[in-house]
């Protein structure tokens, strides 16, 4: 019983866990890419190189990372196999779907392609250089959008509360990261490291809806619309906005910029106008010969967007009481009145365009964890990850078993509470044949087997060329 209570508390605490990035990878210290998450990791090679730009080895397999995260629901929360007479049928289950939705549903995608990574040992330091292409995109949908669509506005009206759509958001960012990092052993117990990153933004679209709400008055059903919205874009093309009259209002792609982009698409990839800075920090501390503690912060930084920057701003409030009945003497007067009404709405909510640069912050994550070296071949780990994303705090907890089975092979198994589900069993494997090292890791291979229950799909793989393996000796007191 006690076990179940503990498990219940454990699950409840992390029921709101969000996106994850490298929960299993974090402790794969034979793979250089762990330095992307904890720069203080002591990599057991004197030199390594990898990335898509490295001939042959760099493409077998291509060094990519993909992550999909949904903090609210998975496929079976919408469609699932029925029961009884419906056991052989898929059924649509809207109540279940609604039950699983969070205040804001974030659906996020993260794709990274390593172009080049290079590392070498220098005295008690390990220095790295990496170039990575990163795509982060996603959509956020507030619960109240579904509530309004599926239940109407009356339930909230009866509770005298507004529909809050402010969580709505769209994000797309493509940038290139040039990272230079180093880790060093400060003393027998402490090591630390960091990575400084220059970021080159390629494209960005993001929204910031500080306020978007609809309140229905229970007395007279009048509706109050409130908006305070921003949409920023910095793209190789830009938009034309015509907001002079409601009839001809619209936003369309500027044809000249489109033509220029089509004539010279390479300029997109060589764009150096959107500069940003980012930092990763990490530290490891050997508490006892058996226990290591560590912490890291990743992606602390920003990008300043200056290529065709466009900011669409809309702020206003409007009380809608229905159409005003006036003494229309003919259809033309009535049409005119309706047009005036449309003009009023349009003028209140029409966006204004400001063409100045803007800045976006990277989604910063932090990790805190520890490792218990039960046996030279068996380490137990625990890792907590937190992330702030669009006013939401997302976190996860992972426990793992790690083993460097041989000098060439290591295997890792994790269990994570994340994305409001407790079904994430992760798996990682690295293998070295001569100087060629392969790695494959996922935080939830169960989700790959049962995608209908996946709130998170995650995969990282790649190949490095490594030289100068030096076995990191375990503490003398450890079991052998």
């Amino acid at each position: 019983m006690k076990r179940y209570i503990l498990l219940f508390i454990f699950a409840g605490v992390f029921a709101s866990a969000g996106a994850q990035q490298a929960l299993t990878m974090y402790n794969m210290d034979r793979v250089m890419q762990t330095q992307f998450i904890n720069p203080s990791v002591d990599v057991p090679y004197k030199f390594h190189i990898g990335g898509l730009l490295v001939p042959i080895v760099g493409q077998l397999p291509p060094p990519i990372y993909f992550n999909y995260g949904n903090n609210s629901f998975y496929y079976n929360h919408i469609l699932h196999m029925g029961k009884g007479d419906k056991a052989d049928n898929l059924v649509l289950d809207i109540p279940l779907f609604m039950d699983k939705l969070k205040k804001t549903t974030h659906m996020r995608f993260d794709t990274q392609i390593e172009l080049l990574n290079l590392g070498f040992k220098l005295e008690n330091m390990f220095l790295t250089v990496a170039i990575t292409e990163k795509f982060k995109y996603g959509m956020s949908l507030p619960y109240d959008i579904f509530e309004f669509t599926l239940n109407g506005n009356m339930p909230y009206m009866q509770e005298n509360k507004p529909h809050d759509f402010s969580g709505f958001g769209v994000d797309f960012t493509h940038y290139r990261e040039f990272a230079v990092g180093g880790s060093m052993q400060a003393n027998d117990k402490l090591s630390f490291g960091g990575r400084a990153k220059i970021l080159f933004g390629m494209a960005n679209v993001n929204t910031n809806f500080k306020e978007l709400s609809l309140y229905t008055d229970p007395e007279d059903y009048s509706m109050t619309f409130t908006t305070d919205m921003k949409m920023h874009s910095s793209l190789p093309v830009y938009f034309d906005m015509n907001m002079l009259e409601v009839d001809s209002a619209g936003i369309s792609l500027n044809e000249a910029s489109m033509t220029a982009f089509e004539d010279n698409p390479a300029s997109y990839f060589l764009n150096l106008k959107n500069i940003g800075l980012g930092f990763d920090f990490g530290a490891s501390y050997k508490l006892t010969p058996e226990i290591d503690l560590y912490a890291s912060i990743t992606d602390f930084g920003f990008i300043s967007w200056n290529t065709n920057p466009q900011n669409f701003l809309s702020k206003g409030e409007y009380d809608f009481h229905g159409l005003e009945v006036e003494l229309w003497e003919n259809d033309e007067e009535m049409d005119e009145s309706l047009k005036d009404f449309a003009d009023t709405l349009f003028n209140i909510f029409k966006p204004s365009l400001v063409e100045t640069g803007y800045m976006t912050w990277l989604p910063t994550s932090f990790y805190i964890g520890g490792k218990y070296k039960f046996h030279e071949l068996l380490h137990f780990t625990a890792l907590y990850r937190g992330e702030f994303y669009r006013k939401s705090y997302m976190h996860s907890l992972t426990i793992g078993v790690n083993s460097n089975l041989t000098e060439c092979i290591s295997a890792h198994l994790t269990y994570s509470l994340a994305h409001h589900t407790a079904n994430h069993i992760g798996f990682g494997l690295s293998a070295r044949l001569g100087p060629v090292q392969w790695y494959l890791v996922t935080d939830s291979f169960t989700n790959m087997i049962w995608p209908q229950k996946a709130t998170n799909i995650n995969l990282r793989m790649g190949c490095n060329i490594v030289f100068g393996y030096k076995k990191i000796k375990s503490s003398a007191s450890m079991r052998t």
Binding site: K86, D88, D220
Partner: protein
């Protein structure tokens, strides 16, 4: 080996089972397509903040609402008519004068050598034939006018004829013209002499009016040893003459006005009927605008109100000696100075006429014909007219909004088509319309709608009372003025069961009734322009759809 095979078999079965499960989950052919959607929406539909005058004009846009002298509102129905044009009554006929100078009229003594001349001079009078035998015109100024003069000489000598109108002047210069003849004579004419702007003084002859003098002078020039016999004749024609202004005495003339009808649309509605009402102070007003400089009298030949209840009602019969009929015409103010437009009026009310009987008989229209006569007192040489002199008359039926209205009601039938309700997947489960009215009018209203089948058998009614109070009348003070708004919220709800009753509905019979505050007790009220009515209309609707999505799509 056997154990390994077992494990392998188990693993294989597990894998097949897992992948089969995954495949089923994404096999959309297995989706039963059953949906169950239930949502409730509420929204405002319309709102308004109308003044009483706005509301009244929605019903009757022909009436004119004014603020009357007592500060409240009057509804006016009016017609404006004009007398016939002044040039149709007082005009200038074409005029003619002719004459002949013969050789016996001339003394030829000493007329026998080159350079000798003889002359003959005389004066004639052109008497104008007038528009009225009594007319005695003193003067006029021509707006237009043409004079043609044709002459002929039969003298063997050369000659010259002067024709002069000494009292027809322009800038002080009399109109004159001359005609020259060669020996042996011939025809000489002078056509299209323009009289525009000429002053004509008709007081320069012994008659002292209607005449102008014409001076004729003939001169012969000796042209050799030829006979002295011969004649010179002339013919003067004045035509297309119009005046700018004319002075004198114009005699008795009759001015006819167009006949007209005042539609009182308040009582003309075919849809609405009234049990009783009272207008406390109805009025009938006649306004005159007179730019004739002539004493005139105005009267109605015909002034009749028509009502379905009373038939034709002759207002003149009960005019209590008011100056509106032929026997007792009204002396209308007239212009004393040229350019004046004199305003005059005559007001008829319940104290001096039967107008309250007329109004309370629900007249649909008032028809009238009118005339005016000039110079009722006889000869007076101070008359004048100008080319656009006119008498205009505005006839107004004024209904001051002071009184009561009781049981103003209507009943009508409309065809309705509610076949959509018969759908198996009719998503409408409940509909509630909420009408919130803040009434600042001293008026209450009731309504009801009956839904019937094609045989007019009642299926349901909108309200389960006989007639639901839709408007609660605002209370009035002793003077009939509204004290404060009254509020009434009406909710009309239709749930699924009631909606089903209407599936065979073909007709909607709707009734309505309107009363002023405490009208049944005879309480009178006044309508002021600041009276307002505010309303909000909104709805709640419950939608629900349950069934196969393909079937539902086909249904719609």
């Amino acid at each position: 080996m056997k154990t390994k095979f077992k494990y392998l078999l188990i693993a294989l079965i597990l894998m097949v089972s897992v992948f089969s499960c995954v495949k089923d989950n994404f096999n959309f052919d297995k989706w039963d397509k059953e949906i169950n959607y239930e949502a409730s929406f509420a929204a405002p539909v319309a709102w308004g903040d109308l003044s009483f005058t706005d509301a009244l004009q929605m019903y009757d846009s022909t009436g004119l609402l004014i603020d009357n002298d007592d500060g409240y509102v009057s509804l006016q129905y009016l017609a404006r008519v004009s007398s016939n044009k002044v040039n149709d009554i007082i005009f200038i006929n074409d005029q003619n004068i002719s004459g002949t100078v013969e050789s016996p009229d001339i003394s030829f003594v000493g007329f026998d050598s080159p350079g000798d001349t003889v002359s003959y001079i005389y004066t004639d009078y052109l008497t104008f034939s007038m528009f009225n035998a009594e007319a005695e015109i003193d003067s006029l100024i021509f707006k237009t006018g043409i004079m043609d003069i044709a002459t002929n000489s039969t003298f063997f000598h050369s000659a010259r004829l002067y024709v002069k109108f000494p009292s027809v002047t322009k800038n002080g210069v009399p109109f004159s013209t001359s005609f020259t003849y060669t020996p042996g004579g011939g025809n000489v004419v002078s056509l299209n002499n323009d009289f525009t702007g000429y002053n004509v003084d008709m007081t320069q002859t012994p008659a002292n009016f209607n005449e102008i003098p014409v001076e004729i002078r003939l001169t012969l020039f000796w042209s050799g040893e030829v006979p002295n016999s011969g004649t010179v004749s002339f013919d003067v024609n004045m035509k297309t003459m119009q005046y700018k202004i004319m002075h004198g005495y114009f005699g008795e003339n009759t001015l006819f006005f167009e006949s007209d009808t005042i539609d009182i649309s308040l009582f003309k509605s075919e849809e609405w009927d009234i049990e009783s009402y009272l207008f406390m102070d109805p009025k009938f007003k006649i306004y005159y605008w007179n730019s004739y400089g002539v004493p005139s009298q105005f009267y109605f030949d015909h002034l009749v109100a028509h009502s379905d209840l009373q038939g034709d009602m002759n207002i003149l019969d009960d005019a209590n000696n008011l100056p509106i009929g032929p026997a007792n015409p009204y002396d209308v103010n007239y212009a004393i100075v040229v350019g004046q437009r004199m305003l005059d009026s005559l007001k008829i009310n319940r104290t001096n006429s039967n107008i309250d009987d007329v109004v309370n008989a629900r007249p649909k229209w008032i028809q009238f014909k009118a005339r005016a006569t000039t110079n009722p007192a006889g000869l007076d040489h101070h008359n004048f007219v100008i080319d656009d002199s006119q008498i205009e008359v505005e006839v107004i039926m004024e209904l001051p909004m002071w009184g009561y209205l009781y049981n103003w009601h209507s009943r009508d039938t409309a065809k309705v088509d509610l076949t959509d309700l018969q759908s198996d997947y009719n998503p409408l489960k409940r509909l509630m319309v909420r009408i919130d009215i803040q009434n600042g009018f001293p008026i209450e209203a009731f309504g009801q709608v009956y839904f019937t089948d094609e045989n007019y058998v009642v299926l349901d009614s909108l309200f389960y009372t006989y007639e639901e109070r839709l408007l609660s009348a605002a209370q009035v003070d002793a003077d009939g003025r509204v004290l404060d708004f009254s509020r009434k919220v009406t909710k009309i709800e239709y749930v699924d069961a009631r909606l089903k009753k209407l599936e065979t509905c073909k007709y909607a019979i709707y009734t309505g009734q309107v009363n002023t505050t405490n009208a049944s007790a005879g309480t009178v009220m006044k309508i002021y322009r600041d009276y307002r009515i505010k309303f909000d209309i909104g709805f709640e609707v419950d939608l629900g759809v349950e069934g196969n999505i393909d079937s539902i799509s086909n249904e719609f």
